[in-house]
Symmetry: C2
Subunit: 398 residues, 2 copies
């Protein structure tokens, strides 16, 4: 019996319990022993769950139990989740999390602490939900210089854009419906303003470049201003509008990360990533483009990724490889948020071959003062971000 503790019994936490229960036999066949959820740290009423007898409210019970080797943190928020994580690692327990806020805030310290203690800090589920991306990026792409990374990183906004595109409903209409259906929160700001996606692209950039850009040095442009006209213009170019997170490194060594709506050509697999699905594209200097696609959120996909990390932590008793590490970026490491568009364009743009034709076509349809050329960092896949200030601009793939 391999004993595990769970901190937090919300959507993901109850999913973790469900995956461990439903796939019990399968997991035992893979691990050689069953996983047993020994404690659940939770303050809310758990009497109606099958786990009432395992609830604890005092973290020390978990910390002081030598039988518990792995603790799952799915509490959400930075505090006290990060403090509890620190205590678990200090007590010599591996920690698995889906909490991107903690990873983005102090993942570097927690990784260093885990290494010092010879345990694991794993967070595959913190980016892209159930999509395998962190382990492949760290391991399978270890031989590659990461030239760029981009993706559809937020399921709520992709759901809204998909329905706007397919049904011709306005942003406001779809948002209201999505809230009713539980696909969007009552306060949807973190999703629709791009903050959630920004946090994820910042983590992916940290894994790729070894520097984590603090959130206050980043800017996102969400989907709140995407109109049906934008979608119609996109369609007239054979494109879909997608909210794309994007990160890269300039020749001078500075890194950047940004989130904004982009046009994605229909011939590109990413244009067909619809509803709550997410997709992440990584360009390696040897590999070229690789794309990872799947459910970027949701109780069971995310919980499945958490439990896979638990299996890994239980089975492979080695510290994280040295290359899995980042430090906090300082101001000199980062392209200022306001310069991202111009500089990214400078590095990656090649003039759109029929740029003039595009400019005319777009100007004829909407009120704009500038049309960007397209970029080629992910030329096979999608355009560069080209939203500048409040002026709406468009670019499509050449």
């Amino acid at each position: 019996m391999l004993n595990v503790a769970l901190m937090g019994y919300g959507v993901i936490g109850s999913g973790v319990a469900k995956v461990i229960e439903e796939n019990k036999k399968l997991i035992a066949s893979r691990l050689g022993e069953e996983i047993y959820l020994k404690y659940i740290l939770e303050i809310k009423d758990m009497s109606s769950t099958p786990y009432a007898d395992r609830v604890v409210t005092d973290l020390n019970i978990i910390l002081n139990d030598p039988e518990v080797k792995v603790v799952v943190e799915v509490m959400g928020g930075i505090h006290p989740a990060s403090d509890f994580t620190r205590s678990c690692l200090e007590a010599g327990k591996s920690v698995v999390t889906a909490n991107k806020a903690v990873v983005a805030d102090c993942g570097d310290e927690l990784l260093a602490l885990a290494r010092e203690k010879g345990v694991r800090y794993l967070f595959e589920a913190s980016v892209g939900g159930g999509i395998p991306i962190i382990r492949p990026l760290i391991n399978d792409l270890a031989s590659n210089e990461i030239e760029g990374i981009c993706g559809i990183l937020n399921g709520t906004t992709n759901y809204i854009l998909t329905r706007m595109t397919n049904e011709g409903c306005t942003y406001e209409e779809v948002l209201k419906d999505a809230q009713k259906l539980g696909y969007a929160e009552a306060n949807p700001a973190a999703d629709v303003e791009g903050t959630d996606a920004l946090r994820k692209i910042a983590i992916l950039a940290a894994l790729s470049y070894g520097k984590l850009i603090p959130m206050d040095m980043l800017k996102a442009k969400g989907i709140t201003e995407v109109s049906l006209t934008d979608i119609a213009v996109a369609e007239s170019f054979g494109c879909s509008v997608k909210l794309i997170g994007r990160a890269g490194k300039l020749d001078d060594g500075r890194i950047y990360a940004t989130v904004s709506p982009e046009f994605v050509e229909d011939s590109c697999p990413m244009a067909h990533v619809n509803d709550v699905f997410n997709s992440i594209l990584v360009r390696g200097n040897m590999l070229g483009d690789a794309m990872f696609y799947g459910k970027g959120a949701g109780k069971l996909p995310t919980a499945g990724a958490v439990v896979a990390d638990v299996i890994d932590a239980l089975e492979t008793k080695y510290a994280a490889p040295a290359r899995l590490f980042w430090e906090k970026a300082d101001i000199n490491d980062v392209l200022p948020a306001d310069d991202v568009i111009g500089n990214v364009a400078k590095k990656f743009c090649h003039i759109f071959e029929d740029g003039e034709a595009l400019k005319k076509a777009v100007e004829g349809k909407i009120d704009i003062s500038f049309v960007s050329c397209s970029g080629d960092i992910h030329a096979v896949m999608c355009s560069e971000p080209v939203l500048e200030g409040s002026v709406k601009t468009y670019a499509v793939l050449s």
Copy 2:
């Protein structure tokens, strides 16, 4: 200095040398030390390469050098590659390979031997070239029951089908051109008849279900009979023709693997996987569908995956997890090749809602005697294989 030996300096072998050389600094920053290619086992003339002074023709030199911890096997073919691999593992050296023939032939024994010796046997590059699939399948999906797996697993055939579709050229014309350009071999049988894809789907099935189906128990239908009419019919249904490898497990526990051309709907990301790109879709019982996309072949993408495995083998000194193992399937474990279509259909088919309409439409266009219903194992993504004997049949996603 971390010493590595290379067995075979063909396309992939020279790529491995190039990746190690070109990304030397990056790899050193990740590993803490540089990788040095100490020996190349090769019998051909190497005097024009920068490695002339490192060539050896006697495997014992590598086996007897305690400085060499990892050996890369990229010789191709089963013998003597598998024998040399066995010798290296017995000498306590980890082996990394891109050789799918060896993995499919005796990967089970080699994994067991590696475990016994406390070293690694890694083969990420053997399926999907540079696409991370084996490590994600083993690790990131460890908590999931694999309900099915399918994919575009051969770059040559996908290149041919893409050009037939885009340019309206016949199979014979494109094949001739592909041979000139080096995308297809002089004897293209392994690619165009589906054997290469079949070997890959058999390996993926082994990883998913713990049983490797021997090649002589499997059948593939390649692309040699795909005509421009087929492609036109597909287009009339909003589909593309793709060569799809597919594996799964029936309720009675028997497993199957097959390769055949299928119709894939344009709304599905896999329909837009073109040219030499590959794509693999895995359905987990918790995750749902995840898709992996990238360059499934080619010197540098494949070599990059090999070198990533080398980094892993050099850095993480633990034996493979127990769950990375399979045994050879016996006849009772496997759905007979001739029954695959009917039984897969029985398990997964639901009658195509407008099956009659489809039948009429198709019958109006081509000479067929049977139209299959569609399946839903990957209903979001693509159809079931429905080619039966010499009679051409079609199915599209409902």
